[in-house]
């Protein structure tokens, strides 16, 4: 007999109230499934059964309050009809990694009837947790029919396998067994592995998977939350906006000279290096003032013009990216912008951005030039309607005014705009404005 006690739900907690029994005496319980609920100061807590067996007796009725560690029920373990399943708590066994991958691990969940009867032993060893939590009923059915849960498509919450799924699988197997068809060949290459590494079928090893575990051809790991978010946003943006990209070549020679002149002074005085990005940001802010529709967003059938020019600067992180926002970018000098860029990028990488520093952008700039890219077609940062891509600034031979060839610092700027709202002509005027500010840089004071 296993005693079930009132658990201590916190240091200062000395008692708890049983609010509801989820099992009746005589009913079977599985280890870790919710057995009863308790209540302490506005918190309801589900308490899992400490063992598998039969709920022998309930000692504390619903509504009763007892001190912690009071025995509230007893579970009779000997009454277990079948051996407990390999019960590892889900937390200890991550959903996608089983400790020693059997050849089956490489198979996708869609393979029809993959030689299950031939390998009962292996199936029994397969941790059920590999496909997420299973209800006791489903576990029992899987055990009885010697099924590998990974071969069954779950239709329950979160892809969970339900009783119906198991029944459907069994029915389908029975149908297939009845139909005259060649038996599944064990030498068939594993489904997902073949999909991941395209290979002619002839190259597939002629060794049945049972013989010995092959070296894994793929490795599966869950996407990080950030990766998932990025994926969502990229697709959302592609679905939302009519993306068009226009590319302009800008002569950065004047800016390059300004930068040369002030570089060491800025480094000494402020402790950061002066890049091209704040010049381009400053030019973009001026162009946004001149063309407010590029600083707008769409809400339903309305155009929302933003009176503030808040420019997001894409920052590459180790495994993703984030777009912190420079507020009122048009009110900042080149030095002020450089300071903001350095500060936001540093804090983005050390993950110290405040929540309101990644919200409220009205336009974005992404500087792939710093990774050597000449140009690219960036994706709009929703709900904005345009994004400026900055290519690498390079010295290049350029034909200048009187048909002479000169060495100039040039760079390609690309603007991806939402063609729902912005016409091509306007997008190009906007780019011409940026180009003109940069090529005729007149601000002597940074």
């Amino acid at each position: 007999m296993i005693d079930v006690v009132m658990p201590q739900m916190g240091e200062s907690i000395v008692e708890g109230t049983v609010t509801r029994w989820l099992k009746k005496p005589g009913e079977r319980v599985q280890r870790d499934e919710p057995l009863f609920e308790i209540s302490t100061d506005k918190v309801d807590t589900e308490i899992p059964a400490p063992a598998t067996g039969t709920l022998a007796e309930i000692l504390v009725a619903e509504g009763q309050t007892v001190p912690i560690n009071t025995v509230v029920a007893r579970i009779d373990e000997t009454a277990a009809e079948v051996a407990a399943p390999p019960a590892a708590a889900p937390a200890e066994a991550p959903a996608v990694e089983s400790p020693a991958p059997s050849p089956l691990t490489e198979r996708g969940p869609v393979g029809p009837v993959v030689a299950t009867p031939e390998r009962p032993a292996e199936v029994a060893e397969a941790p059920a947790e590999a496909v997420g939590p299973l209800s006791p009923l489903v576990r029992k059915m899987l055990r009885e029919h010697n099924l590998d849960p990974r071969l069954i498509k779950g239709t329950g919450q979160g892809g969970r396998i339900t009783k119906q799924d198991v029944e459907a699988f069994l029915a389908a197997r029975a149908r297939e067994a009845a139909a005259p068809q060649p038996p599944p060949t064990p030498a068939a290459p594993p489904v997902t592995a073949a999909a991941a590494t395209p290979q002619p079928p002839a190259a597939a090893p002629e060794i049945p998977p049972v013989a010995r575990p092959e070296p894994a051809k793929i490795r599966i790991e869950p996407m990080s939350i950030m990766r998932q978010k990025i994926a969502e946003h990229m697709i959302l943006s592609k679905r939302t906006s009519a993306h068009v990209t226009t590319i302009h070549r800008v002569d950065m020679t004047r800016v390059a000279r300004m930068r040369e002149r002030y570089k060491s002074e800025v480094q000494q005085r402020y402790g950061f290096s002066l890049t091209y990005l704040p010049f381009i940001t400053r030019a973009a802010a001026q162009a946004l003032r001149a063309f407010p529709i590029v600083n707008a967003s769409i809400e339903g059938n309305n155009i929302v013009y933003h009176n503030e020019i808040n420019i997001g600067i894409a920052v590459a992180l180790e495994n993703g990216l984030i777009v912190p926002v420079i507020r009122n970018a048009d009110e900042k000098s080149v030095i002020g912008l450089q300071r903001a860029i350095v500060d936001l990028a540093t804090r983005a990488r050390s993950r110290q951005l405040k929540p309101d520093e990644v919200h409220g952008g009205t336009f974005s700039i992404t500087n792939f030039g710093s990774f050597g890219s000449l140009t690219a077609t960036p994706i709009i940062n929703q709900p904005q309607v345009a994004i400026l891509g900055v290519g690498a600034v390079e010295k290049a031979p350029v034909v200048v005014d009187d048909d002479k060839i000169a060495i100039r610092s040039v760079c390609l700027l690309s603007l991806t705009f939402d063609h729902r709202l912005i016409d091509g002509a306007l997008a190009d005027q906007f780019m011409q404005k940026i180009k003109s500010v940069l090529e005729n840089w007149s601000e002597e004071v940074l």
């Binding site: 200062s12 991550p94 952008g361 994706i379």
Partner: protein
């Protein structure tokens, strides 16, 4: 430092929010996702906790239906409460083993989050002994009701920002006949968005975690 992801879900129905919470709780238990803080608001709805008494509902189901208010029995702690537009609802899905294995400390923590957020707007929230929630001048501004399963939390708090308080006439809030209040009633005309930011920052301090905001990606993966 532990990571907590926060999401703004906008206005969503109570049933839908329950479904999302259940899904996230499952994933949290499996360790597939980090802690979560969901911020949202509900359309008009009255919910009765597991230990709630139906006599605290002062209107008939028919009257509620006429007023466009949904009614739900739910599995959180606490009695009866009202949610509606203008009320910021927070549902943290936390694995308390990563913080403190103490459900009462957790509830005090939620109160502290609200108190710190109120501070940002110059308001002083108070605790009242034996009456969970946050109070200002004897009126309740935020209600708390929590569910815990294997140390993973769900449900959370309901914080009146610009709530139309007249809807509380249908119930005896949390079974107490004390009056309710809102930030707007106290003269602070804050918007939900500002309150979200204040709550997120307070949450990071109280639960000692790093709040990861939704990532807004830009560059095409190349």
């Amino acid at each position: 430092m532990r990571v907590c992801q926060w999401r703004q879900l906008g206005r969503i129905g109570y049933g839908e929010a329950l479904r999302i919470q259940r899904e996230l709780v499952e994933k949290r238990k499996q360790g597939a996702i980090p802690d979560q803080l969901l911020l949202l608001e509900h359309p008009h709805v009255i919910t009765l906790g597991r230990n709630g008494r139906l006599e605290n509902l002062l209107a008939t189901p028919a009257a509620l239906e006429r007023a466009g208010i949904e009614f739900f029995h739910t599995d959180r702690g606490g009695d009866i409460t009202y949610h509606g537009p203008g009320q910021v609802v927070g549902y943290p899905i936390l694995d308390l083993r990563g913080w403190r294995k103490d459900v009462v400390a957790y509830v005090r923590g939620l109160e502290q989050v609200i108190i710190l957020a109120l501070e940002r707007f110059g308001l002083r929230g108070e605790r009242e002994a034996g009456r969970t929630g946050v109070w200002i001048g004897g009126r309740k501004i935020a209600a708390i009701g929590v569910h815990v399963s294997r140390w993973v939390t769900s449900h959370g708090f309901a914080f009146n920002v610009s709530t139309d308080l007249s809807y509380f006439r249908y119930i005896v809030p949390c079974g107490l006949s004390a009056p309710v209040t809102s930030m707007w009633e106290l003269g602070v005309r804050a918007g939900s968005e500002q309150v979200h930011v204040a709550l997120v920052e307070a949450f990071a301090r109280v639960f000692e975690c790093e709040m990861i905001s939704p990532v807004i990606p830009v560059e095409q993966a190349r």
